[in-house]
Amino acid sequence: MFQKSRLHGEFFMQGDIACAEGALAAGCRFFGGYPITPASEIAERMAYRLPLLQGVFIQYEDEIASMAGILGASWAGVKSMTATSGPGISLMTENIGLGMMMEAPCVVVNVQRGGPSTGLPTSWAQSDMMQARWGSHGDYGSISLVPNSPQEFFDLTVTAFNFSEKYRLPVFIMADALVGHMTEKVVIPPVEELEIINRKYTNKKTEDYLPYDYGKDLIPDFAKAGDGYRYHTTGLTHDKRGYPDMTFECQNELVPRLVNKIKNHIDDISLTEEYDIEGADVIVISYGITSRTVLPAITMAKKKGIKVGYLRLKTVWPFPEEKIRKLSEKVAGFVVPEMNLGQISLEVERCAHNDSIVKLVPHPGGAIHKFEDVLHAIEEVAHGK
């Protein structure tokens, strides 16, 4: 009976549910969470599905516990996930930092809603993008994937698990309430057709194993609890043995490695889609649901004869710095519509060539961009303003 419980086929499926199915397809067998709109459907689906796959579902007492719990499960060698929205992420951030420091593979889903604070529980925004990058204190590299449809919510959840396993860190999926609550066709391939990456376990003998030793790729091999390695791991700055070491030398080896293990692999991690980039005067850069809602404006601009290209970021963090820099040498400028008051546009500004214009089309969330606003911004950039 349990074997039958894997889904594949075509479904008319809500985004949040597609996310849960993506996690299960990727091999997630532990979910710890706390109810919050608009992410609760993920937990509900997991509560229903995980027991049938002999996995563990636990509704914790809060988001702090949920995040700590999935780290614990990760150390038992089980792929784990939590799903929440902005206020929950705010509570999770300390333990997200612990996950970064301990290098625990797991996935954190943020179905973004309007903020700050309780904000707009049932409506959407993209205003947690910087929080995903810088939310927890200290320096660390991080990965954030942004889906724009239920299908992609499924696909990128699988990818998020793969990245988390490969690079050993909590990976964010930055969905939003519109994608989470939208129902569309979702194609779930048979599990054997999915590319699934699992963390690299050490093959060293117990006496030779150093839990935080690393090779060229800067990623330590994993050993799970109960394997007999009996090693220490801590949120303190630690040496290759995992022992606390409060020296500058140790900090200077560990923290840059946490940043560089992501930075050095940006070509693998950075997922983008480009259309009509060649010969474009203006490039619209968007991500998540905004990448769909601005399409009518792009069509209108094209009708007016403006050469508009379009770059969609499926991976927002690490930010494709080099790509933006190169593009900026060829175009008059960029238009960045996002459902916040300027977050990723700042990154575009940082990376773009000095002469190129970067125009933010802000939106506080709760509705979608007016076509005219986006069109107007495209026109302005096209005319060099």
């Binding site: 008319f12 049932t122 066709k185 769909r292 509705a367």
Partner: protein, 180 residues
């Protein structure tokens, strides 16, 4: 690329969300088109009002919201009043004639009424009014093929009510105003 934008509105409890789900599923799974369904956003979510929307397209749905509708299904006066302005010229309005009584000027649109709730009551269960309406919509607005709609209905309702729902669909599909 052809695209059809459908708004469905009514009260909570009428199965407004379910009918949008069935419609979307009929289009994307059984008619092999693409569809995107979103629900109850905006000020209309207040009180007992409820609405949902489906975009049906021959290609991937780019823009998932319904700002202007090709088809408006109104199962309440409030839904009718709120969403009639977004129905575009030449668009089709389908409404329950017992629940939407105060009609505005229907210039430039095609308006078709059906006593969906009353027909459902005659079938034995008021709850299937939404399915009656889907049958009516399949015929009058041709939003999806009747076969796809039937399959999607069978797929989405509890099995012991399949037959009732099929009769409800048929009642809506066969309804002809001139008969009244």
């Amino acid at each position: 690329m052809s695209e059809l934008r459908v708004k469905i509105s009514g009260f909570g409890g009428q199965g407004i969300i379910l009918s949008a789900f069935i419609l979307g599923k009929a289009a994307s799974i059984y008619d092999q088109q693409h569809s995107s369904m979103t629900q109850a956003y905006g000020p209309e979510a207040r009180g007992g009002a409820c609405s949902s929307q489906v975009v049906i397209s021959s290609d991937n749905v780019e823009y998932p919201l319904v700002d202007t509708a090709d088809v408006l299904i109104a199962m309440s006066q409030e839904g009718y009043d709120t969403f009639l302005p977004i129905l575009k010229k030449g668009g089709i309005l389908l409404y329950d004639i017992d629940l939407v009584e105060k009609l505005q000027c229907h210039k430039d649109i095609i308006a078709k009424g059906i006593p969906a709730t009353r027909l459902a009551e005659e079938l034995g269960k008021k709850i299937v009014a939404n399915i009656v309406m889907l049958g009516f919509a399949a015929k009058q607005a041709k939003i999806v093929s009747p076969k796809a709609m039937q399959e999607a209905i069978a797929d989405s309702v509890p099995r012991k009510f399949t037959e009732l729902n099929m009769r409800a669909f048929q009642a809506g599909y066969d309804y002809n105003k001139e008969q009244e």
